[in-house]
Amino acid sequence: MNGKYDVLVIGGGNAALCAAISARRGGASVLVLEGAPKFYRGGNTRHTRNMRCAHDAATEILTGPYTEEEFWKDLLLVTGGQTDEELARHMIRESKDILNWIVEQGVRWQPSLGGTLSLGRTNSFFLGGGRAMLNALYLTAEALGVDIEYDAEVTDLVIEDGMFLAARVKRPIEGATEIRATSLVAAAGGFEANIEWLKQYWGEAADNFLIRGTPYNRGSILKMLLDKGVQEVGDPTQCHAVAIDARAPKFDGGIITRHDSVVFGIVVNKHAQRFYDEGEDIWPKRYAIWGRLVAAQPDQIAYIIFDSTVVTSFMPTLFPPIAGATVAELAGKLTLDSAALEKTITDFNAAVRPGTFDHTILDDCVTEGITPPKTHWARRIETPPYLAYPVRPGITFTYLGTRVTKEARMLMKDGRLAANMFAAGEIMAGNVLGKGYAAGMGMTIGSVFGRIAGREAAKHARN
């Protein structure tokens, strides 16, 4: 610790490391403060797997072109227009170069993809997953001479008139608990692991949320920045939430707690009542809506119910399905009212019309005369054993963030540019993603704005 760094990066995920590497390559001295212990470094990046980048032609890892315009249309679709067009288009343009830049930083792509995802054209997959990607970035950063501190919880930011002066850390770093730096890059994620904060928008329901990532994503840096005059962006109630297994741990269950079986059955709440069209849309949009749907149900619990004919039709699951030889037995195991569940299934079965099942398209298997309808993939549930997965809302990340420019520089509430403060990753994702989500976009935002933030922070520090 030589008193003062050119660039201080707070956070330890993809965006933070891209910023640190890019600042270091830009000639700056760089310190990374990661609040988590080494094993849990990297926040949500630990659990990611792929990145969505525009590209004009097929490559070794991607099956076809994905143009800037197509990316932009996909973004418009998922956000319903809630995006900063200038920033979003800039990110999409930069994403083309990121595909190669990230490889130059030691990250490896997987050549081809098995499994059940159909993203081979639009998304590049990290060989070994998100933690492997992080490991590569950390090795590169260390080799370049970036200093990294783990368990370094930032307790306060000294900001005067839109200018960052110092950060106070809980863990003394070689005697210094106040770190000064010429520029700041905030890349410390969202607040999804901060149940108290979530409760401000969701009420007591938030107690029943499961957090898919680490318990360290508490949004403390975001809160400090907003409290000290940085302009906010994004809807605080918006978050990426999917339905995950109710038996999952409270934190860090990651990818393996997901369920993609909704299409093969029905979903009921604690009163054994269906509450939404399980056949509304194809994966991944279907996947992305069920977290919010379950969050709106009593006690934030629901049950995916199917029968033995479809048990091998979806990805193997961490937790086995709960089984009953009869609907009544299954209801007993789920502590649902058995008469109500029997009626729901009988009514559903009676409403199913014949069709040709194909879960990869919006097929013609529909129900008639039932509310809510199942508009595709409707098939009778009648072959025992009857099976169920209990699900709860699994929160992946939040959308409230700091407003930034194309240069990743923060904007203050009064509309002025922050003098020396930059933001990257989930903490500013709301600029681009006002709502909704499409696979791999979080990593695109992280890498693109991380690289820009690091470069700009280094440039500012050298001036």
Binding site: G128, I255, I256, P316
Partner: protein, 366 residues
Amino acid sequence: MHGTRILEETDRLMTVCNSCRYCEGLCAVFPAMEMRRAFSDGDLNYLANLCHSCGACYVDCQFSPPHEFNVNVPQTLAVARAESYAAYAWPRALSGAFARNGLVISVVAALSMAVFILGFAAFNDRAALFGIHTGPGAFYKLMPHNAMAVLFSAAFLYAILALVLSVRAFWRDIGEPIRGRADGGSIFQAIRDAGELRYLHGGGVGCYNEDDKPTDRRKLYHHLTFYGFLLCFAATSVATLYHYLLAREAPYPWWDLPVVLGTLGGIGLVVGPVGLFLAKVKRDPALLDEERYGMDVGFIAMLFLTGVTGLALLVLRETSAMGPLLALHLGAVFALFITMPYGKFVHGIYRFAALVRYAQERRDAG
């Protein structure tokens, strides 16, 4: 329900991994796993023997310890692998030898060497053992060639028999009912994969040893050991042909083929095992099967002893040390042969069989 606790744990891990699949690009274990939704004992033993213990999936896994899911694939599969050697061993009565491997190997090695030294003494007098013998047939002044040939043929044939019967049991358990015979294409693919240690590359960056930084040294030392062993085997084979076809008796001059092959192989068998041993000492204990430390080290030691006595014999064969060194070398080789079916040597055979099965599965899946 599985036969052993370690297979239960392997099943648990494969269930976790199968619902994640982030590691599918790293090696053959995960794609093989993805072809199944439930795992028999044979499946788990197959996956365990497909694992090359490069450690990449441990370093890359978001659920490895201290995470509560406690996913440690390399260590768990290492234990399962070691237990599978004992489970398929022929004759069954000797399967316990794996557990006490370090001790068994030391005792067998010591006895073998004693037998050779006493054997020399029985064939000759003490003077011959410490005498200077040169020229063709020098070795056989200590023990007649036919006596050596009988002893080593018996040991070698026993080892082959025991290995064949063991691996046959393994092969049946990992899926013979599905497809019995291995086809030529799959065997060729497996030879290539084994020959280059394709799956010891951590998905491309190398193998993990003492920390989370990948290095390729274990692969290099393994190559030196394996190809050193093959060169020594080739040297012996060529010498046997010389003896019976050309009536040329050992020792041969340094530039002759058996000596050149043996010297190169011997160097591999010294440098390789030393490197493997040092890598093992440094290796992160989280990745190691500590219970089987003796088995691994015992095998490495036998290879090293074979190499080092062979090289010493080459250098000192025209001195009075030749007799004792020849006795030690032959003793080491003899011990290596008869312990082969009950020690770490089998890992190569089982892994090869697993690679053949994997190549078959890949072809069948298209």
